[in-house]
């Protein structure tokens, strides 16, 4: 690990100035950043410890939503009775990620900002535009079984690894940010992340010195919520495909639906196309399959990951059926 200096800030207003020096980075739980620093993929020369900032609370909002402090541990949020009762898709998504130990340490803000698990990003001997802009992408013609099928580019086919962010996308979360000049702004989670394009090293709209202070969840939409994750191991593994759905039905007609996929793109993938194909339609397998086709219409496989397109469709159908509590038998 490269040498660095360390300081801890105890006032959120001091964070932006502290991180403004060249080579400085925030550290919170550290479960991803320290891993990357050991591999010298990340090489900060100064760490600003924000883990003790008073941003750990989950608070009710007057409109019926909640505000989750960015320094809350993943495990605390998944265990929060309000999250479990009103936003079960978020609790399920957080619990589907990492291990008990990691969830106790990892912060909510850090989860949002975790880096891809593309093996070529991790292999410093391989070409990676995300790690070294302009170097090329070894995954394009490499073993790309876990890689993106939507929204990718010839510069990068990495996926965003978070489960939590997928549920937050379906819940239309907003990210609250504090700028060094003390002004705050809110960004919808779907606008927070970008697609790789020709600049895959730029992953979010965070400005220099800006810090995530909270995630705001609006009141939960009507309907039943469900998160399903498909992966190579039963536990403690990143997703091959994941789906967050929220679906409301009235006498077997779908009144509203939210759909977001994980592990398919550079960002959590909200599928407005799937939602449009569900709304007003009967809650049947035929409808779910039409929604799945709509969601994957622009999907592109890169060879090893071709199976993910069909897997995403089937996972969506199964998850919709589970959430709608209407039996569809075995999807064909």
């Amino acid at each position: 690990m490269k040498p660095f200096t360390y300081e801890r800030v105890t006032d959120p207003r001091a964070a932006g100035a502290a991180v403004s020096r060249a080579g400085a980075k925030f550290i919170s739980g550290g479960t991803n950043l320290l891993d990357l620093m050991k591999l010298e993929i990340e090489q900060p020369t100064h760490l600003v410890d924000i883990s003790r900032l008073p941003l750990k609370q989950v608070e009710d909002l007057p409109d019926g939503g909640i505000r989750i402090g960015a320094q809350a541990a993943n495990s605390e949020v998944a265990a929060d009775p309000r999250v479990r009762a009103r936003y079960p898709v978020l609790a399920e998504a957080v619990l589907a990620g990492a291990s008990g130990q990691l969830r106790n340490k990892a912060s909510i803000g850090g989860n949002l900002l975790q880096r891809t698990r593309c093996p070529y990003f991790y292999d410093t001997a391989a070409a990676c535009n995300k790690r070294t802009p302009g170097a090329g992408c070894a995954a394009l013609r490499g073993v790309n079984r876990i890689h993106a099928i939507l929204g990718a580019s010839d510069a990068c086919i990495a996926t965003h690894p978070s489960d939590m962010a997928v549920a937050m996308s379906a819940l239309e979360a907003e990210i609250e940010l504090l700028e060094p000049n003390q002004s705050t702004r809110r960004v919808a989670i779907d606008d927070f992340y970008g697609l790789p394009g020709s600049t895959p090293h730029i992953e979010t709209v965070l400005r220099p010195g800006e810090m995530i202070t909270a995630v705001i969840l609006p009141p939960p939409p009507p309907g039943r919520q469900r998160y399903r994750k498909v992966r190579d191991r039963a536990s403690y593994e990143f997703a091959l495909i994941s789906v967050a759905v929220i679906i409301a039905t009235d006498r077997e007609t779908i009144t509203t639906a939210r759909v977001a996929f994980g592990a398919v793109a550079h960002k959590p993938w909200r599928s407005i196309d799937a939602e449009a194909a569900l709304k007003g339609r009967p809650a049947t397998l035929t409808t779910y399959q039409a929604a799945a086709d709509a969601a994957m219409r622009s999907a592109v496989g890169r060879g090893h990951n071709d199976f993910k397109i069909e897997l995403a469709k089937r996972t969506l159908c199964r998850t919709l059926a589970d959430a709608a509590q209407i039996s569809i038998g075995r999807p064909s």
Binding site: R8, D35, R84, S99, N104, A234
Partner: protein, 182 residues
């Protein structure tokens, strides 16, 4: 942290923390992980280094009662924290119930992962007692957690055993959790 240590040159940082009930003062390079501080500075070698990347769980310790991977955290970030390692769970003549259960159930072979398994199980049982759900809990909104074998396996998935003593690890934890023995 001693705030007189200005973050300019590669400074030696100084912190105070409680380890197994004893107040300790430590000085180290900022890069020192909590794991290395425990093993190399305090010579508490019960906590093991496996992967050093948060993937195996061998380095699991309890911080303020919560289980974490000590390899993926900087020691300097634990100023004033309360750390419990495998050495702090019990005295040799009065084993922690989980230690006794691991022996009774033959829940290890080489033993390298065992301190991490036991510290993780201590933290896990506290989480279940607090009503925390898991990935396999049928209804996350329910406050009642029954520690079935499936629950124990899921909640312990952050601890890898290369000897694959998993059936006996589950049995040992089940014994202590008060679950029904098969």
């Amino acid at each position: 942290m001693d705030t007189s240590t200005k973050p300019t040159a590669v400074a030696v940082l100084r912190i105070g923390l409680t380890v197994n009930g004893q107040p300790r003062q430590l000085e180290f390079d900022p890069r020192t992980s909590l794991l290395d501080a425990l093993r190399e500075h305090l010579h508490l070698t019960g906590t093991k280094k496996g992967c050093d990347h948060g993937q195996c769980g061998a380095c699991t310790v309890l911080i303020n009662g919560r289980r974490i991977n000590s390899c993926l955290t900087l020691a300097v970030m634990h100023d004033h924290d309360d750390v419990v390692t495998i050495e702090g769970l019990s005295a040799p003549e009065a084993l922690h119930p989980l230690q006794a259960a691991f022996i009774k159930r033959d829940a290890f072979q080489c033993g390298y992962c065992t301190p991490g398994q036991i510290c993780s199980a201590v933290g896990m049982l506290a989480e279940a007692k607090a009503g925390w759900p898991s990935h396999v809990t049928p209804d996350v909104a329910s406050g009642q957690i029954a520690l079935s074998d499936a629950e124990i396996r899921e909640r312990m998935s952050g601890n890898i055993c290369r000897c694959a003593a998993y059936p006996n690890i589950v049995a040992a934890i089940r014994d202590v959790a008060g679950g029904v023995s098969r």
